[in-house]
């Protein structure tokens, strides 16, 4: 592999230098300046210099100087800068002397227009938090299917399968379980409480317009819960002009999905959007021949309808969202009926929520605004896994009011507000019933100091009064500094708190005969997460390339430990103040050697440890090393898109199975493996088709389920999953869009 990468690298650099050598034959140098009212010569930085008949374009440096290559002469050199009149110079032959270009201030300022390109994947240099954005372009690179699969080409978020029965996928950030990442859509909580384990599957990928990822703690405005990270989704808006959008998808495992969205612009102020999703797995799959379905079969229905109002001093978004799912898994031929002898499993979910957001802008105070967020949620799930049953109902009301204004001038701004959470849980695990009602009023204040966007400091604190656990305090600090216009250094530190739900957080782990020993006194988890990030952007042939490097250290003051190391027949859940930490290091390089090609490499190192079975050891199922390499190419006419992504996952520690009978024992460490994904898309004028493959090297964990032949015996365990269990996948699909008539 090393050699292939090296070859690719050499090839790229060689091509680049070859191209440069070819074009650098004639170079025109010059300086752009203007004469101020006082008669002083002042350089004009960032002026655009380009040829009339050539695509070459450069910008002047801070001292106004520039150099531009000419491929063919004669040509006309044009110099333009906002606020100045354009200048053009006819250049017939190579120039020895440097050009002196005197720009005259334009009588009328040209309107400043911002041309934003959908970069697909980008790391922002302005935001005080290290915000990584996955745009629509990037989301299209991997067409499948729901939120958990949207991170395939992203290095910051890892996705893992929890177990071989539910097939649920969980994310991981900083090497920590997805429960420590706060998920929200448009600043409304997305998965919280009972939906933690399966929630990711309940957001179809086609609904998503973009994803923002923040490592470490987020803003206090969003609550106390972001510990390892904060992920916010922006859903598609009616202004995307998609009158009707249809997506159909099918894969080799008999999974079929249909997505239909429609947007209506009713008048200048009102618009509405409807999303519908239906997904079904029709066929039983057992690629690894263990007698168990690799993927649950059954139907998934989701819908959302929302309204958007945009008035002069007010904006509002409201609507509702629903999910209905009924899936079967377990041994082939079972359908979870009481009289059958096989190991059946069934997962039913009903979810209904209503949300309303409103923003008010003051007429008199230009920078003051008030935002209100409300969410009402009902979530019900009925799970049967073999002889284990787990049912739960959650009723929730979430409310957040945010007032923001400036202090004196725009260098100093603040956000303050109140929040309220009412969370009512009824859970039943086998014969035991658990009731819990959380009532959490809270208040927060966040101050931002902004010095010309170059230096930004955000200091926030929030206090919440939990009815069960008393006051919870979460201070947070974020600092960003642009050392140069193309680089940013960010430092963040803060406290994150989370009230765990032992059963809901680890539903997937019920797919085993392990006896659950859950401590009756579960207390909130608390951690301090600090990190430093450095981002550098540079131009490669006019395209923005990015290098970023980050290090995060998360230290738990109190953590709910899910311990599988006590015994292979037991699973212990308890709170611990013992040492528990995560060191996470990531380096990422995204190069765009020429238009249309993007080449990304990321390396990650995790050192995540906690006390398991009374001993400080590596967290199980977390690899120490990971490597991601991804190549995306789009032809210049935008008709073809090709993408290939490789993920190398290093060895992971596995819980000991030494006391099991010999045939049920497993290694203490997993093997490392490569996962290769690829997708090809062709765009027609009105629709596009795609064909892709996942896990193309057909990596499969052998004997994934321990004691698959004796599922009701005491050694059965389908939760020791560290690699794919169903081999490669081939999928295809179609996107079809009717655009709204533009106004």
């Amino acid at each position: 592999m090393k050699y292939i990468l090296l070859m690719l690298w050499v090839l790229l650099t060689f091509q680049l230098s070859a191209q440069q050598a070819h074009e650098d034959e004639i170079i025109i140098r010059g300086k752009v300046f203007t004469v101020s009212d006082e008669g002083v010569e002042e350089p004009v930085p960032s002026a655009k210099i380009y040829w009339k008949n050539n695509r070459q374009k450069v910008t002047s440096k801070v001292d106004g100087t520039f150099s531009i290559a000419a491929t063919r002469l004669p040509d006309t050199l044009i110099i333009s800068s906002v606020g100045f009149e354009d200048q053009s110079y006819a250049i017939a032959s190579p120039q020895e002397e440097s050009l002196n270009i005197n720009l005259k201030e334009g009588e009328m300022l040209k309107g400043v227009e911002v041309f934003a390109e959908d970069l697909g994947h980008s790391i922002d240099l302005m935001n005080p938090m290290n915000l990584e954005t996955i745009g629509e372009g990037e989301l299209r690179r991997a067409a499948c299917c729901n939120l958990s699969e949207s991170f395939e080409t992203n290095a910051s978020v890892d996705v893992n399968i929890t177990d071989a029965v539910t097939g649920a996928k969980k994310i991981q950030m900083l090497g920590l379980d997805g429960i420590y990442t706060q998920l929200q859509y448009e600043n409304i909580p997305l998965v919280r409480g009972l939906s933690t384990s399966y929630g990711l599957a309940f957001t179809p990928g086609t609904w998503i317009q973009s994803i923002q990822i923040t490592k470490g703690t987020g803003s206090v405005v969003n609550g106390y819960e972001s510990m390892a990270g904060l992920i916010n989704l922006e859903l598609k808006k009616p202004s995307s002009k998609e009158l009707l959008y249809v997506n159909a998808y099918g894969n080799r495992f008999g999974r079929a999905e249909l997505n239909i969205h429609g947007a209506q612009q009713i008048n200048d102020r009102w618009s509405t959007m409807t999303f519908l999703h239906a997904g079904n797995v029709f066929v039983d799959n057992d690629v690894n021949n263990d007698g168990f379905r690799d993927i649950p079969v059954g139907l998934n229905l989701m819908g959302m309808h929302r309204w958007i109002f945009e008035g002069e001093n007010m904006e509002s978004r409201f609507g509702f969202k629903g999910t209905w799912a009924d899936k079967y898994s377990g041994q082939l031929g079972t359908n979870y009926s009481p009289d059958e002898s096989g190991f059946g499993a069934r997962f039913q979910t009903q979810h209904l929520e209503a949300f309303a957001k409103a923003g008010f802008f003051s007429k008199n105070r230009k920078f003051a605004s008030l935002g209100l967020v409300n969410q009402w949620k009902y979530h019900n799930m009925t799970n049967g896994i073999g002889s284990t049953t787990y049912n739960g109902t959650q009723r929730k009301w979430y409310s957040n009011a945010i007032y923001s204004d400036i202090i004196g001038n725009t260098n100093h701004t603040y956000k303050t507000g109140l929040s309220f959470i009412y969370d009512d849980y009824v859970e039943a695990y086998n014969d035991s019933t658990f009731l819990k009602t959380e009532i959490v009023p809270g208040a927060f204040f966040e101050y931002t100091y902004n010095s010309l966007d170059k230096f930004i400091l955000v200091a926030g604190i929030r206090g919440d009064l939990h009815n069960m656990f008393g006051p919870l305090w979460a201070p947070r600090l974020h600092v960003k500094w642009n050392a140069t216009p193309k680089s940013a250094i960010r430092i963040s530190t803060g406290k994150g708190i989370r009230v765990p739900n032992p059963f809901a957080d680890y539903v997937g782990n019920m797919a085993s005969s392990r006896l659950w020993v859950v401590s009756p006194n579960i207390t909130p988890e608390e951690c301090i997460s600090s990190g430093i990030t450095f981002t550098q952007k540079f131009l490669t042939n006019e395209n923005v390339s990015t290098f970023s490097i980050d290090y995060f250290y998360t230290y738990f003051l109190n953590q709910m430990i899910m311990d599988m190391d006590v015994s292979p027949n037991e699973l212990h859940i308890y709170n611990s103040n013992a040492e528990s930490y995560s060191h996470s290091f990531q380096a990422e390089l995204t190069i765009k050697p020429f238009k249309g090609l993007e080449f990304r490499n990321a390396f990650k190192y995790y050192d995540v440890r906690a006390e398991f079975n009374g001993m400080l050891q590596n967290r199980p199922f977390v690899p120490r090393f990971r490597f991601l390499t991804s190549l995306g190419y789009e032809t210049r006419n935008k008709k073809w898109m090709f993408d290939i992504t490789g993920n190398w996952v290093g060895k992971k520690r596995l819980p000991s199975t030494a006391s099991n009978p010999l045939e049920y024992q497993r290694e203490l460490e997993s093997e490392d493996y490569w996962i290769l994904h690829s997708q090809l898309t062709y765009n027609f004028k009105r629709f596009s088709i795609y064909l892709g493959g996942e896990n193309l090297l057909n990596v499969m964990q052998s004997d994934a389920i321990i004691a698959a032949d004796d599922p009701f015996g005491s050694f059965f365990d389908a939760t020791q999953i560290w690699a794919p269990i169903n081999g490669f996948n081939i999928y295809g699909g179609i996107h079809f869009t009717i655009k709204q008539k533009e106004k």
């Binding site: 050699y3 070859m7 050499v10 090839l11 060689f14 091509q15 070859a18 191209q19 070819h22 655009k48 380009y50 009339k52 008949n53 050539n54 695509r55 374009k57 227009e113 041309f115 934003a116 202004s239 200048d268 945009e310 238009k595 032809t635 210049r636 006419n637 935008k638 008709k639 004028k685 533009e742 106004k743």
Partner: protein, 116 residues
């Protein structure tokens, strides 16, 4: 390693050699176009990229131009310019067609994008 490098060298040499030999069949032209916004860019690229004979079309809004590579046998540079003119854009000094301009969305007419 030496072998790999020499192979790479040949590959690279061949590709750059290939590029210089082609221009008899293709032509790349840049037109100055009165495109103003992202919507114009999408419209023009969608239209020209799906026109027979066009290899690719790219709009550079900042520079206010359109670069089109096309097959000489299938389309002429004048025809491409006429398409742009008929869409409602003044191209290389040729006045836009009023009919095309009237059917442009407000945003592309320069009358403001979005609602306000």
């Amino acid at each position: 390693m030496k072998h790999i490098l020499s192979i790479l060298f040949i590959v690279a040499a061949m590709t750059s050699f290939g590029q210089t030999e082609k221009p008899s069949k293709f032509k790349e032209v840049t037109y100055d176009v009165s495109a103003v916004c992202k919507m114009c860019k999408d419209r023009i690229e969608k239209e020209l990229n799906y026109t027979k004979g066009v290899v690719f079309c790219e709009v550079d809004l900042a520079a206010g131009n359109v670069t089109v590579k096309y097959k000489l046998k299938q389309i002429t540079g004048e025809k491409i310019r006429d398409i742009l003119v008929n869409m409602g854009y003044t191209t290389d000094g040729v006045e836009r067609s009023e009919e095309g301009y009237n059917s442009l969305p407000q945003c592309c007419k320069g009358e403001g994008c979005g609602k306000k």
